[in-house]
Each structure stands twice: as structure tokens, then as C-alpha cells.
Amino acid sequence: MTARRHRLRRATTAELIKLRGLPAALAAMLATVVAGALFAAADPAGPAQAVPFLQIGPIVLGVLVVAAEYSGRQIATTLIAMPRRLVLLAGKAGAYLIAATATSVITIGGWLVPGRPAGRWTVIGAAAYLVLMGLLALGLTVLLRSLVLPLAGLLTLVLVVSPLLAGYTEHARWLPDQAGRALSQPHGDFTTGAAILLAWTASVAAAGTVAFLSRDA
């Protein structure tokens, strides 16, 4: 058991070093933080208006940490260095969670400045929403092994399709972003929203994990 925990820690730090070496990932994190500061300055009432834009950052980050493996043949090096695939995936998710949580907390932090009217729960909810959307993107990319497909697909879903559907059917509330949006809204149904978003993230992550464990590199 301790050997396993040891390996997991190694995998997580290795993945963090990897992330640090990807200029595009660093740019996505920086851009999210800067955008968050601008939104907080322009609209101090709360992060709800800004979240549809801010989620682009963690989605790009989640896609990139996996897609970078497949844009060349780095995946071979990765699997040779970390042959236990479950440990590797856990390490990747761990490194993403550390980077995305830090980014999201700093991004959303602008609304927590004393004297700002935003409720603490909407701020925490918004940060959690950002982290989970990126985790969904990460899982989807493990499944699809591509950059353009999950990136274009998810951005189109959350920015174009979901707002269109939300206007015309109440079933749109089952979409991950519509459900999760409740986390950042003052009077949203926090529990249901969180449950639906978590269910999406968990099922996509499970599908990605099964595919990753069973297929050839």
C-alpha cells in the first residue's frame, strides 16, 4: 500500500513538472487569472456572469494535459516511465486538480475582496464549477486522444449549443454546464446542480479510464 502511495506521489509530481514545461498550459492558466481579475473589477456583484467565459481556461487546461501526450509520441515515454496505467491517470488528474484549483481560486478570488457583496458560497461554487468542467474535459480527451475534437466539441457545447437549448427546453438543465451553473448563482439549487455535474464528470472519467486501461498505447 505504501509503495502504491509512493508511486502516486511520484506520478503526480512528474505530471506537474510536465505541465510546467507546456507553454500553452501556462498561458491558459495565466489568461484565466487575468480575465477573472478584469471581470471582478467590471462586475463586483458576483462571478455568475463571468463563469461562462472563465470556464474556457480550465477546459483548455484539461484538454491540453492529455492531448500533449498524443500530439507526438510522448505517450510512449510516459507509459514506459509509468507503466501502471491507473497510477498514471490518477497522477495526471492529481496534477490537473492542483493546477486548476490554484488557478480557479486565484481567478475567483477577486470577488472575495472584503467589502464586495458576493456571497461566499457562490464564489466557492464558481471555483468548484471551473475545476470540474476542466476535469470533464480531461476525461473526454483521454477517451478521444485528440486535441481539436474534445476542445471544439466542449466549447461548442457550453458556449453555443447549451445557451440555444436552454432557451427552448427545460431539459437543458441536465447538461453539465447548465446544471453546474447553479453552483455560482446566488439562488441556484446547489445540491442538484453539483450532483448532475459530478455525475457527468464521473461517467466520462470512468469511460476514459476503461478505454485507457484496455487499449494499446
Binding site: A3, H6, R10, A11, T13, A14, E15, I17, K18, R20, G21, L22, P23, A24, A68, E69, S71, G72, R73, Q74, A76, T77, T78, L79, I80, A81, M82, P83, R84, R85, D216, A217
Partner: protein, 237 residues
């Protein structure tokens, strides 16, 4: 010791490997020779736990790669080129590999030095020439000071000086008791360096044994190679 036994691999209806069996022994350089598409890379990928065999086993000191407690200290490997993302620096690439393998950070500087990339550690891999990428791949293989080396086409893209250097490196490794398995389609290269030879064609082993035994009856390794692989293609027809 690297032991491949009864290895088969099918992609759908296409048979890539059938009943491949051979060993690579400590203290020897084993050349793995075959035409393009003969199954060299598939065999090495299964040996390194990247792909799954349909049947058979590929073991390193009696264990599958995925179950090695300390893979990078046991086998150093390189499959086509650097295996690094274009936008990373060489140093960042080696740093994460070292961390993943639980190797001390100083090894990064040491191997960069050893492969002649000491001055290029901060260069992005996308700016490397083919030969420099190859050297970076070798650096990653050497990180863990492993007893066995598994290298796919290691001289590909190296300049004459680099080829001479790697020849010396592999010879010294085997002489010190290490195991070396290298694949190549460059006959003269293999003849120069290998102690043992495994010839694969059409996914089957055509010949295996000490170099002089495999060549026996032919003037050169090249002639032996064409005789052995031609048999195989006729059988396939």
C-alpha cells in the same frame, strides 16, 4: 535477461506477429534485424508494456514490464526518437521522466552531459535536429543506469561521430555485464556491433543465434539477411 516466448499479435484479421521466441542475454549485444513492417517495433512495444500481446509473454528478468517495481532502473528504452513534446525543453522532459522513475535530479545533468547535449538543455525539442532528438531519447534511456537497454533504430539520424559514440557506449554496456537489444534495418551497423542476431520477417523469426552462426554459409550479413528474409516472403505467398 529479456525473454520473448510464443509472442503473437493480431490487429483484427491482420497478423503482425506469430509465435515469436528469442532471448537477449546479459553481457551480449543482440541485434534485432528485419525489413520495414516485419514486426520489430511491435515486439519491442509489447516488451515495454505499451501494447498487449494476443498470446505469449515478453518478460524482463522474469517479470512483465508493467509489473517491474522500478522500471527505469531495470530497463532503459528508446522508441523512435526523443519521445518528447515539441514545446518542452530537453531539461524539462528529462526532469519529469526522472521524477516519474524516482531518480535523483542530478541524473538529468549527468545524462545530458553523457549524450553531448549539455549545451542544449534549455532548447525546445521542436528546434532539435533529428540527431539531437535521438540523443535526447538515449539520454532518457540512460537516466536510471539500467542493466538492460532496449533501443529501436538507435543510429537513425545520428552523424558519423554519433554513430561511433553509440557503438562504443553499447559495447561498453555489454562488456560491463549489461543486456543490449537493438533493432535496426542497417546491416553494416548491426554486423559491426552485435554478438547475437535475431532476424524477423513477416512477423516470424527467420533465424536466431550468435552472429557467425547466422551468417554461416553466406559471404556477408547482408547476403544472409536477404536469403533468410526471401525464404520468408516466399513462404507467405
Amino acid at each position: 535477461m529479456l525473454s520473448i516466448s510464443g509472442l503473437s499479435k493480431r490487429h483484427g484479421s491482420r497478423t503482425v506477429l506469430s509465435d515469436v521466441t528469442f532471448h537477449a542475454l546479459p553481457g551480449r549485444v543482440t541485434g534485432f534485424l528485419g525489413p520495414n513492417g516485419a514486426g520489430k517495433s511491435s515486439t519491442l512495444r509489447i516488451l515495454l508494456g505499451l501494447d498487449r500481446a494476443t498470446a505469449g509473454t515478453a518478460l524482463i528478468d522474469g517479470r512483465p514490464y508493467r509489473e517491474l517495481p522500478d522500471p527505469l532502473r531495470t530497463v532503459g528504452s528508446m522508441l523512435d526518437g526523443s519521445g518528447a513534446h515539441r514545446s518542452r525543453t530537453a531539461r524539462n522532459h528529462l526532469a519529469w521522466v526522472a521524477r516519474a522513475g524516482g531518480l535523483p535530479k542530478r541524473r538529468v545533468t549527468e545524462v545530458l552531459d553523457q549524450v553531448g547535449l549539455a549545451g542544449s538543455g534549455r532548447t525546445r525539442v521542436g528546434r532539435f535536429s533529428l540527431g539531437m532528438g535521438q540523443r535526447l531519447g538515449l539520454a532518457a534511456a540512460l537516466l536510471g543506469n539500467p542493466a538492460a537497454l532496449v533501443l529501436d533504430e538507435p543510429v537513425n539520424g545520428l552523424d558519423p561521430e554519433g554513430i561511433r559514440w553509440i557503438r562504443g557506449l553499447l559495447r561498453a554496456h555489454a562488456d560491463a555485464g549489461g543486456t543490449v537489444l537493438l533493432s535496426s534495418h542497417l546491416m553494416s551497423e548491426v554486423a559491426e556491433i552485435a554478438d547475437d542476431l535475431v532476424v524477423i520477417a513477416g512477423g516470424r523469426i527467420a533465424a536466431a543465434g550468435p552472429l557467425d552462426q547466422v551468417i554461416a554459409g553466406h559471404a556477408t550479413l547482408e547476403e544472409a539477411f536477404f536469403a533468410l528474409t526471401a525464404d520468408r516472403s516466399e513462404q507467405r505467398c
